[in-house]
């Protein structure tokens, strides 16, 4: 007993002399989405109603905050709180929020704003508040034409996302995909484009010929895709603004699986000659064609690294479909997948740190990611049939498509777009008017 008292006494002495600080390690928290309150924007007096074609949009303040809320909810990182519990009015909250009120409903962040609409201009101011610290975090304003109000909502979402997660957002983007209808044996396919939240769907082709695997250019103005126009499967370029389509190059055989280079100057694709598919590039302006792979195997699904120095692609030169990486001039081809099963559709993340892929093993399809050297393989989701992941511009979310089983009459068949977070969480169906497949994500529109 004496010894114990002595020990403790020494502890005190030692303690005061060293002026030491008590350290406690916090290694756990909760992974719940951040509770955030998105207040409907205050509509300034004298504002007119927004017109979208013939439709008149009332309550533009609520519409804008509604788009922001849906973006947050779908990201899986934020939990937008229910508006019915909001106490403060939008106009006051935007100037001087009573943080105690917002803390009561357990909000940790608050978005407020004001919108003014005139005949030819829509002006939005918004603020992001840290409710817990009771201070302002962002204050920004934007102006545009009234019918462009959705983009403002998406830009607000991106700014808030960036401030609260440290990463760039992905809400001000579009998705190009193939809209599908009809029986499984004779699918009717059209190119379609929509905002990433499903709004503003536009059809880019008529559906008279088969169209497949569209991809956005980094400038977001061009789309490249495979078309069976006149029963000749070739890679085409489509200008979204003008609607003009042109065939890429003058190849004497099928070209397919097209992508853009990161600088937007080249198209990289497969060209099938006498049954053998190799990878080629073509400069869009100079029309100079370069052959990149030289092998009797099928080489397809090429994807550039974001710095343009490397290409990952799909090849069966080992006997079965595997993923390879090579320099962009075709040299130093290296196989990177050695696991059980088949690997396909490799896509390099815009962050450069990962390659996403489709894996087929024992009759099941997986979407996964791995490092560019092939290590760290992680499977995110499993399904009867799914493939062709495409990255969001911040390299955090993957969009892909799934097909369901069908009987011999084709009943039960459907193709839908899905998205999943890099962590494997937040697997989400993306609603489309028709069935959809082959989705491709644009880069941020404002870049």
């Amino acid at each position: 007993m004496k010894k114990l008292i002595l020990t403790i006494f020494c502890l005190f002495l030692f303690n005061s002399s060293a002026k030491a600080v008590v350290e406690v390690d916090i290694t756990r928290g909760n992974l719940d989405p951040l509770p955030i309150a998105v207040s409907p924007l205050h509509v300034a007096l004298g504002s007119i109603d927004v017109k979208e074609g013939e439709k008149v949009i009332k309550n533009i303040g609520e519409k804008i905050s509604g788009v922001v809320e849906i973006n947050f909810k779908r990201s899986g990182l934020f939990n937008p709180l229910k508006k019915e519990s909001f106490v403060q009015n939008p106009d006051i909250a935007h100037i001087k929020p009573r943080f105690e009120d917002w803390r009561l409903i357990k909000a940790q962040a608050l978005v407020t704003g004001k919108v003014t609409v005139t005949e030819d201009k829509l002006r939005v101011e918004f603020r992001l508040w840290d409710v817990v610290a009771a201070k302002e975090m962002i204050a920004l304003a934007f102006s545009t034409t009234p019918n462009n109000w959705r983009r403002v909502a998406h830009i607000i979402s991106d700014k808030v996302y960036q401030r609260l997660t440290g990463e760039e957002g992905y809400f001000d983007t579009r998705i190009v995909y193939v809209s599908e209808t009809g029986p499984k044996t004779q699918r009717y396919k059209k190119l379609a484009i929509m905002d990433q939240d499903g709004a503003n769907v536009k059809y880019l082709t008529l559906g008279n010929e088969l169209v497949l695997t569209p991809r956005f250019s980094p400038t977001n103005q061009l789309v490249t895709y495979l078309s069976y126009f006149k029963n000749l499967p070739r890679v085409y370029l489509l200008d979204i603004e003008t609607g003009v389509q042109e065939v890429v190059g003058d190849f004497p055989g099928m070209t397919f699986a097209p992508r853009f280079s990161p600088d937007g100057k080249k198209i990289i694709m497969s060209f099938a000659k006498d049954g053998n598919s190799d990878i080629y590039t073509m400069n869009i302006n100079t029309r100079v064609v370069e052959k990149i792979t030289e092998h009797t195997s099928i080489d397809t699904s090429p994807s550039f690294s974001p710095d343009g120095k490397y290409i990952c692609f799909n090849s069966d030169r080992s006997g079965l479909q595997q993923i390879y990486v090579m320099r962009s001039d075709g040299s130093q081809v290296k196989r990177i997948t050695f696991g059980k099963g088949l690997y396909g559709t490799p896509v390099w993340s815009p962050r450069g740190d990962l390659i996403a892929f489709t894996k087929v093993h024992k009759g099941k399809f997986y979407i996964g990611v791995m490092r560019p050297d092939g290590s760290g393989e992680r499977l995110l989701t499993e399904n009867f049939y799914q493939e062709a992941p495409s990255w969001s511009p911040n390299g955090r979310v993957l969009i892909f498509y799934r097909e369901t089983k069908s009987d011999s009459e084709g009943k039960g068949f459907s193709a839908k777009l899905w998205s999943i977070d890099l962590t494997g969480y937040n697997e989400r169906l993306i609603e489309t008017e028709t069935d959809g497949s082959d989705p491709s994500w644009s880069s941020l529109l404002s870049k």
């Binding site: 029986p183 499984k184 044996t185 004779q186 699918r187 088969l210 497949l212 695997t213 495979l226 029963n231 499967p233 099928m254 397919f256 699986a257 497969s270 099938a272 006498d274 049954g275 053998n276 598919s277 099928i298 397809t300 699904s301 799909n314 069966d316 079965l320 479909q321 088949l342 396909g344 559709t345 489709t358 087929v360 009759g363 009867f384 049939y385 493939e387 062709a388 097909e403 089983k405 069908s406 009987d407 011999s408 009459e409 084709g410 068949f413 497949s437 082959d438």
Partner: protein, 158 residues
């Protein structure tokens, strides 16, 4: 009394299951060898006795003995109809990635074209097109349907 009824029930169950398995094996034996479809359900005819298509194993584009037999018959008939031109379609089943399947269909169609050419059909009469997995002939999601979809079809050009 109870024992008798139970015994009878069991007997019927056993008999039924035997009949079941018999049916199952008949399906397999009659329609597929290994992975390759050998039936005639989806086959059409270019002329009497001349089948219009050949089938493949999963991920493969090699011609089986049966396929070569069909193609020899096609070549013989084509030689007689020297004014006709043909499109050779290559197809794949749905159990693979879309782009690879386009390439695979192309390979299969070309394997057929090359074989026909060795039997004296001029390459200028044969054009090739791959549909990958876009035009299945059987919409089912089962091994039999898939084997029927792994095909190369010779189509007369009008």
């Amino acid at each position: 009394m109870v024992l008798e009824t139970n015994l009878r029930k069991i007997l019927v169950v056993i008999l039924a299951s035997i009949a079941l398995t018999a049916c199952a094996t008949q399906k397999k034996a009659g329609k597929m060898t290994g992975d390759v479809y050998t039936g005639t359900d989806t086959v059409e005819y270019l002329a009497t006795g001349v089948r219009d298509r050949v089938f493949f194993a999963t991920n493969k584009s090699t011609l089986t003995t049966a396929s070569r037999d069909t193609l020899r018959k096609q070549a013989a008939w084509m030689r007689k109809k020297s004014s006709l031109k043909f499109t050779i379609e290559g197809h794949a089943d749905e159990r693979g990635t879309r782009e690879y399947n386009l390439a695979l269909g192309e390979r299969r169609a070309n394997a057929v074209k090359d074989y026909l050419m060795t039997y004296g059909i001029s390459g200028s009469r044969l054009s090739v097109i791959s549909y990958g997995k876009e035009r299945p002939v059987n919409s089912g999601s089962n091994p039999l349907a898939w084997s029927q979809n792994r095909r190369s079809v010779t189509v007369k050009v009008d």
